[in-house]
Every structure is written in C-alpha cells, then in structure tokens.
C-alpha cells in the first residue's frame, strides 16, 4: 500500500492521471495473496480466538474464555517466562556480536570480502533443521561444549540435558546467526563521515570515546532498526527450538518457547481457539513493545540532517 502511494504521487503531480487503477491491476496477484493468505487467515484467527475449535467440529463461540484460561495455564506462564528470558538475552548479545564484527569488517583490507561472506554464512543456514541437529550433537555429553568446559575444570555435562543451561544453548544459536544485523551495521558504519573521527583524534579522544561519542550516535538509527527487527525475530523463533527440544520444550520445560507451546496446543491438543488466542496475545505484546521502543527512540535516536529542518 505504502509503495503504491509513494509511486503514484510524483506522476499525479505531472498531470498524467489514470495510471492508479492500472497500478492496482498489476498489483492484483500480490493483493490477492495478501488478502487471501495473510489478512484473511489473520482475521479468521482473531475470530477463532473467541471460540472453542478443535478442527473437527464447527467453532463454538466462548467469548473471552480462551484468554481467561491462559492465566490459569501453568505451561503458558512457563512459556512466557522462558521467552522473556530468551528475548532479553538473545537480542542484545546478538546485536553486540553483530556490531563488534561489523566494526572489524568495515576496514578496507585485502580479502575482506571473503571474511564478510564467511561471517555472514551462518545466517544463511542457521535456522535450518540440519544445524539444529548439529547443535544437539555439540551440546551433548562428551560433545564439543562438554569437552571444552571440562578441559578448564567446569563440569556441567552436556547442556542439552541440563535444564539450567539448555536455554543458553538456544541463545548461542541465535548469536551465531548475527549476519543480517551485521550487514546492516556495516552499511551504517560506512556512512559515518571519517572527518568526525579525524577531528576527534586530533582533539585527543581515545578509541572508546570515539565509539561512544561518534559511532553510536551516528549509527543510532541503524541500531534502533536492528534492535526492533531482532526483538521481533526473537519472539518468533521456532524451528531450531522445535528440533533442539524435540518439540516439547525439554528438558523439564526449560526451552518451552512461546511459539512451541502455541504449536503444541494447536497441533497436539487440537485447541485451535486457544492457540489463536495465544497468537493474538503475542501479537499485542510485541506490538506494545514496538510502540514503547518507538517512544524511547524519539529521545535516543539521532537522525542525521534532522537538525536542519
């Protein structure tokens, strides 16, 4: 929609009217997909969230019952807690890793392209089932993590079977896939005028001060964008967690992410109404967090050129 509006505007000023309908006509396949595959199902799920529906019999209107039941669902509470911890750990750590690597990779050196590709590669395969299976092997008893920690005297056993560490394993998997935010950070870093650094250096600012006072404010829009995107992604992680926890949030519910619980309620218990209510609750929570982040960003994010207006 937004694209259509911006594309249409300059033409209209030129006076050639009538292309609007044609543009929409060209967009029809996409619009049909949007309405039929995204908007329709979303509205259907909103309706279903107020019903009792098990896929086999017609949905039965129950009002807010599903939402009320969530409060009494122990596993819902567990899933919300696990997801909260996961998002709070995975998002900042992933962004930190992405920024650190991006700062190293913006330098113009021979063969830097190779390094950039190498660091980006995990993001291409990281969400796959294959990697999740490898992850299980890495974190088993006698696996890489167990041996490495054992060598320095830390005996935790394989994290995969230890409820105290199993979530950390998923966080590490998320951090490892820092490629997408890294590329965006690199684009941001390349936009920072080098004169600023040169001037600061002349004034005697050290590396930390230059980072704190120049880099961070100059790329703050990029940081904000990445933070927003990665937070939303973190809430939605599913496939890798499904494989690693064998679909059940094992061990002892320690990796029971919200999406896993939702999937289980829908496809093991066939409580489609309840699962829809969970989906909408998640949507609202993520929406609220996004709004909150936009609010905070007004005072914290610096857009270059804004002051001129």
């Amino acid at each position: 929609m937004a694209a259509a509006r911006t594309a249409g505007r300059p033409r209209r000023t030129r006076g050639s009217k009538g292309d609007g309908p044609v543009a929409y006509l060209f967009m029809t396949p996409w619009l049909i997909g949007m309405a039929g595959l995204t908007l329709g199902p979303m509205l259907a799920s909103l309706y279903l969230s107020f019903t009792d529906y098990n896929l086999f019999t017609a949905p039965e209107w129950v009002g807010l019952d599903n939402y009320r039941q969530m409060l009494a669902d122990d596993q819902f509470r567990q899933a919300s807690k696990v997801t909260g911890v996961y998002v709070l750990l995975a998002t900042p750590l992933k962004l930190g890793a992405a920024l650190a690597v991006a700062m190293m990779l913006v330098q113009r050196r021979r063969g830097i392209g190779l390094y950039r590709s190498a660091f980006y590669a995990p993001s291409l395969i990281g969400a796959s089932v294959g990697v999740a299976i490898v992850w299980r092997a890495l974190f088993s008893d006698g696996g890489v993590q167990d041996s490495a920690l054992g060598a320095v005297g830390l005996d935790t056993g394989g994290w995969i079977g230890n409820p105290d560490y199993s979530l950390l394993m998923l966080v590490l998997l998320a951090i490892w896939q820092f490629g997408a935010p890294m590329v965006i950070f690199m684009a941001g870093l390349m936009q920072v005028p080098t004169e600023l650094y040169e001037a600061a250096e002349v004034d005697g600012a050290g590396p930390w001060r230059r980072f704190r006072r120049i880099t961070v404010p100059m790329i703050s829009p990029v940081i904000f964008f990445n933070l927003l995107l990665e937070t939303i992604h973190a809430f939605q992680v599913f496939a890798s967690a499904y494989v690693i926890s064998t679909g059940d949030g094992r061990p002892a519910g320690s990796t029971l992410l919200y999406t896993l619980h939702l999937y289980r309620r829908a496809f093991t218990d066939f409580r489609m109404g309840y699962a829809s209510a969970m989906a909408w609750t998640l949507l609202v929570v993520v929406g609220l967090i996004t709004v909150l982040m936009f609010r905070v960003s007004r005072t914290r994010v610096h857009y270059a050129g804004e002051d001129d207006r």
């Binding site: 050639s16 009538g18 292309d19 309908p21 044609v22 006509l25 060209f26 029809t28 396949p29 049909i32 009792d52 098990n54 896929l55 086999f56 019999t57 039941q69 122990d74 596993q75 088993s140 008893d141 056993g157 394989g158 995969i160 079977g161 230890n162 409820p163 064998t246 679909g247 059940d248 949030g249 094992r250 061990p251 002892a252 519910g253 289980r264 496809f267 093991t268 218990d269 066939f270 409580r271 309840y274």
Partner: protein, 425 residues
C-alpha cells in the same frame, strides 16, 4: 496517447491476472475409472514396499487406481486433521490406536461392518479384530499388532553377574535387579534400567494387573490422585540413589531408546520395537522377557493394534476402498511384499505368509510364549489421549529433575490432563 497507453497496460495486467487465475484452476477430472486415495505414515523403505503392494493390487483389480501419499508420523496427523477440517479425508487411511476414537467420534470413519462382503474377518489373531470397534461400529481394521515386553541385554547381565529377568518375576524383583546391574558398573553410564514410571502405557499395564484400567469406558480417568501418587513414588528411591537412567541422559538420547543407547540393560516397551532397537545400535543383542507382575497369572497384557486401516465415511468408492483394506490385511502375497515393517501381521494368513528374519522370529516366539496371559483389550482411548500421554511424560520429567514433588506432580497432572480431555470432547 495516454488513453491508448492506459488501455494497453490494462490489457497486459489483465493477461497477467488471467495467467495467475488459470494456474489456480487448472486441475480437472478426466478419468472414467475408479481412483482411491490411500494415505499412510512411514519412511522411504515402507514407501517402496507399499508401492509394490499397490501395484499388485492394481494389476489384480483393473479399473481401480490407487493414489498413495505418505509422510512422517507427526506430519501425517497434522495433514489428516487439516484435511478433516476441510471436509475431505483420503479414501483409505492408516490409523493409529490413540486417534481412532477421535476420528470415529466425529463420524469421519466408515463402519466397515457394512463392507463385510469385501473384508474377510475370520483370520484375525484372538481379541485383535474388536480393538477396531468404537461404539459398536467397525471403525478400523487392525493391520498389525504388538504387546508390551521386557527387553534386556543378555551380555550386560552376564558381565554384571546378575540373573536376567524370567517368567514369573515381580516388580520388586525388577527394582532389585535394576539396583544390582547399576551398582555393577559394567560400562560407563550403564544402568539396570530407566525410570519406567514416565509412560502412561506402563501405568496402564500395572493398573490392569490389579483389575483396573487407565480410562473408564466413557473416557474419564479410572484412578484417583492416591493411585497416581503411588505409581510415581514407586521409583522415587531408585531416582534418589541415581540407579535409573538420569533425566539428563534421558533427554539427550531422545528419541532413541535407553537400551539401544548403551545406558540401560532393560527397557519395557512394545515388542515390535525389536527391529528399531537393533537399527539404533549398539552391537549388543536384545532378548525379550515377560513383563513383571505381582500376580504370575495376570500380566495385564493385551494385543494392541500397532496400526489399523480405516475408510473415510465420505468416500464415494467404499467398495474399492474396502477391497484395498482387505487386500492389505488378508492377502498372502501382499503380506509377503509388506513384510513385518508395520509390525507383526494381524491375521494368521499374513503371518504364515511373511518371511521372518531371526529378529522377527524372536518377537513372534515371545508373543506365542505369553499367549495364555493375553487378556481382552481396553476400549479405544478417548479423544485427547495423545495429549494426555504427552502431559504425563512432561510432568514426570519435571518430577525426575526434582523441580516438583510427587504431590505437586499429581496435582498438575489431573489439572492439565483433564483440560486436555475436556478440550478434545
């Protein structure tokens, strides 16, 4: 000029649209003969033999075409439930015992009693045929059967110098034996057995040994909190002394069996898991003994259909579908092709036709050895039994990690499992 360009671009857009739309509707029906869809779960090996059997069926029944379709177990049930929601199941579908009632209760399965002209029912092994009956209707025809047994590793018992399980042993014997093997420390991480209280099937077995059951005929729980507490307390001592497989290990080896992961010398399981355990390794041998029981005359065992075949109630080709069902369970040649990949065949005709490997022979011999102990099966589990099973296991896991007490576990089970049953009604 502008007008003409508009027309031209409109036409182009319409053409594009037309292409998309025709792409969506380009599927018609042009065959004059009967086509039936047959869906089942399984792997590529099963797909190859099933296709061979289908080819034979088609050559014997000219005019009937079978369209096969298969997926993994979990995906299969998602697919079936989605198709059921859309109002169209395949004509013939492989059915699992725990889903039978759920599908039958919704009127989705044809009463195969109406197709008795097509399906011969005289060769079924005792007590098996009626496991497919829900509320007086023949909703499924068993294709293969299994029963519970005690798997053990003779080599580990020998090394540990402990006498292996044998007919007539009790639960106390089992607990003592677990302790003895674990303390012998034959190999690193080797125990006498896992915490068998994790699975509701074994609790059902234990309940049946004293004349009880897990579900009442109308699908409620047939036991109270006290009984469940007793069940989960049985192995508390073994857990505390770390004589059973630790929960950490149990999580890691999943979905493999404990006995095939070199961490347990015994495991109660369905006897057709023999082939699976051998496939999973290790190099050890597996033997089967009867399940423990405090009353040697009552073992609580029954022949459970490991797989059934059902026909969709909305099928337009009931006769052809029933023919296929009959062919798959009763035909000697089909049995020879299909082998025992789906479990030990449900009919004696099929059983005598299949070529049994040494492994299969062990399972068949085991079933023959306990034939006198087999009692009538419980009614098919209620809708929602699948989630009850999962809830049972999840709560037991929290218990075995020491995150909750037995009392809390019992309370949680009744709250969550009841919700699962209510939701499935």
């Amino acid at each position: 000029m502008t007008a003409r360009r508009t027309i031209r671009s409109t036409a182009a857009a319409l053409a594009a649209l037309a292409l998309t739309v025709t792409g969506l509707v380009a599927c018609g029906d042009d065959s004059g003969e009967t086509t039936i869809r047959f869906s089942w779960w399984g792997n590529a090996d099963r797909a190859a033999v099933t296709q061979q059997a289908i080819d034979l069926f088609e050559s014997r029944n000219p005019g009937i075409t079978v369209e096969p379709d298969f997926s993994e177990f979990a995906d299969y049930w998602q697919k079936m439930s989605t198709q059921a929601a859309g109002g169209g199941l395949p004509d013939v579908l492989q059915m699992d015992y725990s889903y039978l009632r759920q599908y039958a209760d919704r009127g989705l399965l044809l009463d195969l009693g109406t197709q008795s002209a097509q399906i011969a029912t005289d060769a079924f092994r005792p007590g098996l045929l009626d496991t497919g009956v829900v509320d007086g209707k023949r909703a499924g025809i068993p294709m293969s059967a299994n029963t519970l047994g005690m798997f053990y590793r003779p080599d580990v018992f020998e090394q540990a110098g402990v006498e292996p399980p044998k007919a007539g042993w009790t639960w106390d014997d089992y607990h003592r034996l677990i302790g003895e093997v674990s303390r012998a420390e034959v190999a690193e991480g080797m125990t006498g057995g896992g915490d068998y209280t994790s699975q509701y099937h074994f609790m059902e077995l234990w309940l049946r040994q004293s004349g009880g059951s897990f579900y009442t005929p109308d699908g409620a729980f047939a036991f109270g909190p006290e009984v469940l507490k007793q069940w989960w307390t049985r192995t508390e001592q073994l857990r505390a002394e770390k004589l059973v497989v630790s929960p950490e290990t149990a999580t890691q080896i999943d979905p493999k069996g404990a006995i095939s992961s070199n961490v347990a010398a015994t495991e109660i399981s369905w006897d057709n898991f023999m082939a699976r355990y051998i496939g999973e390794g290790p190099d050890g041998e597996y033997a089967l003994a009867p399940v423990p029981s405090d009353d040697p005359a009552v073992s609580g065992q029954y022949l459970k259909p490991s797989m059934l075949l059902s026909v969709f109630s909305g099928t337009e080709e009931a006769e052809a579908a029933a023919k296929l069902v009959n062919f798959l369970v009763n035909d000697a040649e089909a049995a020879k092709i299909l082998g025992v990949g789906r479990g030990i065949p449900a009919t004696t005709t099929a059983l005598s036709a299949v070529t049994l490997s040494e492994t299969d022979q062990k399972v068949v011999e085991y079933e023959e050895s306990i034939a006198a102990l087999i009692s009538p099966p419980p009614p098919p589990p209620p809708a929602g039994a699948g989630s009850v099973e999962q809830t049972f296991r999840t709560i037991h896991e929290a218990l075995s990690f020491g995150e909750i007490t037995v009392d809390e576990a019992v309370e949680r089970f009744f709250a969550e499992a009841q919700q699962a049953l209510d939701a499935a009604k």
